[in-house]
């Protein structure tokens, strides 16, 4: 699945340019240290965090896209950093649990 497919299926709102990478699996956490240790390349990352070090961590492990839940406002410096790292960031009013369900329904499975 591509990032644009995910955008359409989950009705996600991109907050920056969409970089149409392949998605392979998902990762849910609000801790960048979790992502450093456990996320895998190609994962879509679901989080409530909006700080720009979210982008720094996602870039380090080659996350495909970030979904920020519960309508959290994403600061402009985070958005700029996401574009610099060619990382799509989505916003949604859904909560983490709802997004996880929708990812599963869309065919995203844990990467083994």
């Amino acid at each position: 699945m591509k990032v644009t497919d995910l955008e359409t299926k989950l009705k996600l709102k991109p907050v920056n340019q969409v970089y149409d990478k392949d998605i392979d699996g998902g990762f849910v956490s609000d801790m960048v240290s979790d992502v450093m240790a456990g996320a895998q390349a190609g994962n879509v990352w679901v989080t409530v965090q909006t700080h720009k070090n979210v982008v720094a961590a996602a870039n380090l492990v080659d996350i495909a896209a970030i979904i920020v839940v519960r309508g959290k406002k994403i600061p402009e410096d985070t958005i700029q950093m996401a574009d610099r790292a060619r990382m799509t960031m989505f916003s949604t009013d859904l909560d983490t649990f709802q997004v996880a369900i929708k990812l599963y329904e869309a065919g995203i499975r844990p990467k083994t």
């Binding site: 990478k21 609000d30 801790m31 960048v32 240290s33 450093m36 240790a37 895998q40 390349a41 190609g42 965090q49 700080h51 720009k52 070090n53 720094a56 961590a57 870039n59 380090l60 492990v61 080659d62 950093m81 610099r84 790292a85």
Partner: protein, 177 residues
Amino acid sequence: MKADKCGHTWKMTDVRDGFIVTEKCYHCNLLRVYFSPEETPPKEEYKEGEHYWDYAGSAQSIQFNMRCSSCGKLVTFENLVGLMHCIGCDEGCYLNTVSRICESQNIWVYAGLCYAAGSEIDLAADKLEVLTDYFGSRLRTPGKKILVLPGSLRRSPESCRGELLKDVGLLSLEPES
């Protein structure tokens, strides 16, 4: 020797939760940073030599080691406080210059920040190489690379505003003071 011939496939191991703690001497304003594996970050003031250290903040993070899954070699990172991504805050900073050059070639630079006894030191070159290899091996975007460099490439650690990978904004998870 087997280790010398091994191409090494690094895996993160011995992952330890803790806090990156920043302290400031309220006499000379010197800052120091260290990783605390304690369940709550230490916040007590104390005197050490000529300095009076006062708690100046903390953030959750992890420490880890690397082990080769082929030959079993263990590389420890007990002094590594974290990886920092340059945000380009200082045009005259060498890390910024290197980062900009590398980014144009899809090479993403992170500085490995190391502290011993509170003072910043450089991570050994072989350990920087291990981190570069490990995080590089996790990538799948064609042409993308990770390069981990020493923190001493920063012109001024005191004024550097780079993004240290740590868990900020998790106040609800921090113990009450």
